[in-house]
């Protein structure tokens, strides 16, 4: 009906509709009962609306450039920064900045303190405070822009690509010392955990860290070859196996236990329904965390492990040497004052308030 250049997606705001109503009323009154000074009401109104239309007509959806927050545990808060660039341009900043209400759409597992911000698009950064709620790969975007003219009379919506994602690791809680010390002879701990002593090359197995790949050998052999270090084969390695129902709870328990042991200086060998990984103290725990982030429901793969973490439909239990603990009780055993300062504490542990994300989420385990 209308030619394209009339860009029908431009709509009046509430303020714009009021202005239109006032102008129509004034024009009607002028027509009915004489013009008086009504021109001074109608003419500026029309100019304002026309100027608003011109300001919005030429706009194009910009590309959003996200300064992503790090992958981190559920329950932590981070800053997300957005900048905007002309579509097809590499550098941020718009040739024609405009005013807009910026709404960042995020996944269920993320929560924005303030999902919509009014700002100038194309000049600076826009900041959002994002709180990680639930483990998993969480998406950010597309960003919705509602551009307005300088008077806020008309508006036009844009969806800005692309969509980015962050990994939210399972929540982590402190583990009481007596429980940890029950697992190993702690005089052995802390020695010869270095990765500098090269032991041997072997074939890649699932769960090996990418940075252990020996590229020169890989290039020669047409298959992935990894390095093995002395520390990997020596010393007591604690094996943890996790499975059962209530994957969220299990993931939280496994993350808490594994990280606590790593910080104590023990290598950890984790097996889970979706794979296994061995991690060394001082090394990068990312692989382990990724595995637990994606932990599904499933059988405990290694029921004879040093630590078996198994979820039932009600609770998650931790079995060591025939002893069984309930994970929720273990958490309660850590009195607020006695918490090990080195461990990263989720916010709710300090305030005493539970957060929604700490509740085991449905993956079928609750049914």
């Amino acid at each position: 009906m209308l030619p394209d250049r009339f860009t029908p997606e431009i709509r009046p705001t509430r303020r714009g509709r009021s202005v239109v109503a006032v102008c129509l009323f004034a024009a009607a009154m002028a027509w009915i009962a004489g013009p008086r000074a009504l021109n001074a009401v109608v003419a500026p109104g029309i100019v304002g609306l026309a100027a608003a239309y011109l300001q919005l007509r030429g706009l194009e959806a910009p590309r959003v450039v996200r300064d992503l927050p790090p992958d981190a545990h559920a329950g932590t808060s981070h800053e997300l920064r957005l900048r905007f660039a002309d579509a097809g341009e590499a550098t941020a900043g718009l040739s024609d900045p405009f005013l807009a209400r910026i709404t960042e759409r995020v996944d269920d597992g993320l929560e924005l303190e303030q999902p919509a911000v009014e700002a100038t698009v194309g000049t600076g950064e826009v900041r959002f405070d994002v709180t990680y709620r639930r483990r998993g790969e969480r998406s950010l975007g597309p960003t919705e822009l509602v551009a307005t003219d300088v008077f806020g009379l008309l508006s036009r919506e844009f969806d800005c690509e692309p969509v980015d994602s962050v990994l939210v690791y399972p929540e982590r809680h402190p583990i009481p010392e007596q429980f940890r010390f029950g697992l190993y002879d702690h005089e052995d701990v802390g020695t010869s955990r270095q990765r500098d002593e090269f032991d041997q090359l072997r074939e890649y197995e699932e769960g090996d860290s990418l940075r252990d790949i020996h590229w020169p050998a890989t290039a020669r052999k047409d298959e992935l070859i990894v390095k093995e270090f002395v520390a990997d084969v020596q010393g007591p390695s604690v094996s943890i196996s996790v499975g059962g129902r209530g994957a969220d709870r299990n993931a939280t328990a496994a993350t808490s236990v594994a990280l606590a042991l790593l910080e104590d200086g023990l290598p950890v060998a984790l097996s889970a329904p979706n794979g296994r990984v061995e991690t060394f103290p001082g090394g990068d725990p990312r692989q382990l965390l990724e595995l637990l982030t994606r932990l599904p429901r499933g059988e405990v793969p290694d029921p004879d492990a040093d630590v078996v973490i198994e979820g039932t439909h009600r609770r998650t239990q931790i079995r060591t040497d025939g002893e069984t603990h309930r994970f929720d009780q273990l958490r309660e055993a850590v009195a607020p004052g006695s918490v090990d300062d080195r461990t990263e504490k989720p916010a709710e542990m300090r305030t005493g308030k539970p957060t929604p994300g700490a509740v085991p989420a449905a993956d079928g385990g609750e049914q």
Binding site: M29, A30, A40, V41, A43, I46, V47, L99, A119, T120
Partner: protein, 768 residues
Amino acid sequence: MTDPLADRSERVRRCLRRGVDAVLDPQPFAIEPPFVGVLLVLSAALWEFYGVVDVVGGVPQFLVTVAATVVVAVVAARVIAPRAGLWIGTGLFAVGSAVYLLAVPASQRALFTLPQLVFDTVSLLSGLSVLRLAEPTSWVLSMAPVPAFLAVYAGLRGRYTLALIAPGGALGFFVLTGDAGTAVTLLGTLGVALAFGLDSLSVPGGLETKRGTLGAVLLAMLLVTSTLTVVPGGAAGPFVVDRGTSGLESTLSADEEELTIVGSVRLSQEVRFTVESDEPAQWRTGIYDEYTGDGWTRSGETTLYDGELDGPPGPTERVTQDVTARTEMGVFPAAAQPVALEGPTAQNARVTDLGGIHPSVTIRDGETVRIESERLRSEPEELRNASTDYPEEIEAKYTDLPESTPDRVGELTAEIVDEADADNPYDAAVAIEQYLEENKRYSLTVERPSGDVADAFLFEMDAGYCTYYATTMTAMLRSQDVPARFVTGYTTGERIGEHEWAVRGQNAHAWVEVYVPEHGWVEFDPTPSDPRDSVRDARLVEARQGGVEGVDVEGSGPEEWTPDDDIDGEIDDDIDDPAETEPGDDPEVDDVLDPDADDPADAGGVQPVSGVDQREFEDVGAAPGLDEPGDEERTLPSRDDVGYGALLLFGVAVAIRHRGWDRRAYRGVWLRYPVRRRDPETDVHRAFARLEYLLGRRYRPRRRTETPRTYLTAMRLRGADERIEEVFDAYERARYRGDVSRAEADAAIETVEELAWESTPVIRRLRR
């Protein structure tokens, strides 16, 4: 026993606390940019309120009320929660309405029925001035605090919608009543726009990036409004005067209550009515009591004509007039003071508070009304010796001047009165009348002054017509506390029979009535009559020669009724104006009034409902090119034109600067017309700078990391002309060896010039 009691007291306490929590919400003071816009709108609204009290009195009370309201609003903004603030605003409106109702006299309050209120509201919104309200001072004092409070309170709280609605609504009301002028309205509208804009721009980075756009749009609003009219120019006026068709009545009005003084006017030669009367007289049609500084309004209500009215208290003589309309007519022209009516239109006639009688339906062409008048017959001596003990309501009504009237009006009047040794109001009036007749020239072609008309006529203008004379004389008398009023009507007209006169549109006139206790209203006419006669005669002859219709009636014509010459003198002696100081004066003066010529649609309109038939005049501005005497005063552009022109230029300059056109234009000239030559090195450097600019426009500017050499190579690859190499060679030699010759420098300059012209769109083809 104690338990329920304690329980109840606890509940009451909780309730109170909740109430206090709802009301109190302390907040630190914060003035944000949009508040500037709110203040602009509020100023515009308050200016209109001020305009009312300036006319009807009460400026000090108004200022105190507004100042107190603003202080209260500032304090409230610090401690009171928004919801409670809104309630306070609404409460103020309710209390204001109640106070106003109580201030209105009981007799009028009885008329406040619902249909009446609805009709009055419609009348106001369709253009009836708020000055027509009963007790306008009380109305202003009770209503002005509402927008003042809400604007300041909500503005400081950051609730700009509410802060704009309150004063914006008040201003809108004044626009609809026709009281607000374009300038003030535009100020208010721009205030709203500014507040909207600054509100939108209050986001981070908004002001830095978009203030240029905001300024440009605001400027565009200003320019468009000043130069274009976009609203439909309906010819309609307030609904209330449209009695001929609707028959509606209002306590507010039953007649043309306002008279705005305009600039140049034209005369109409059509006959309006004929009068058969025992005696000639000036036929009065309208009385006005309130002087607004730029016009007159009539206050008070009208009542139904119900039997004979009281005449003046002094010695009177009865005059019977048979007025026959020769066109549709909305007035009863009669000698002062009309007391009785006969005829079909007498039935629904209405009597104003001031003693005028007005028909409530249109008198049709050919219809005759018999009007009985009681004319004052007091001798000048009696009037001189009359007491100055004015009745209170007369003094209250007829000695008011706008408070903005400059003091010099009163000072000059006192001087004139002193000089004439006048020790009574009658002599003072004679002295003022004489002063105006002698010191001002009669002209129909004047530019309407911008300030107070009386002050301007006295001190700035040297010529004017009857409206100016009468307005000024009334204002001068009032400055000496002498009750005086402005009346309009027609001069006697052309005598067409022994007792019959034909009155034309050009006979429209305005004069003055002065109140003398125990006698009544005495007529004075400060307009010099001779010049009016000549203008009138010339026009009438022209009209007759031009064959204009309606100029003559039976009995009228180029030859006046004989015994012509004697009659003029006779008439003058007979005229019931003891103050007439020029015995030779022909009362048949011609003048024009403009009851409401601000509205060009009214000029030349066909609604014969005003105090003076609106066809009597045509605003010269609305009909340029028609015969106008003394055109020289209109050759200079008016102040408004100059102002708008300057604004337009400013706007264009801002736009050019905004788009960077000035720089481009300069660069364009700089590129093609090299300045005078100096030493070869400098010339070559300059030529190269031009070349770089040229290439930058055509391809891309040189990057900071690029040497001239690599840049030129890149440009050559993109297809630049090979001649740039020559220029670069010369540049390199000038720069690094310093031994470039005059000839080489000239060659480089020429090459760049050629390249520049070749890149010029149209010229390129011509030079080929």
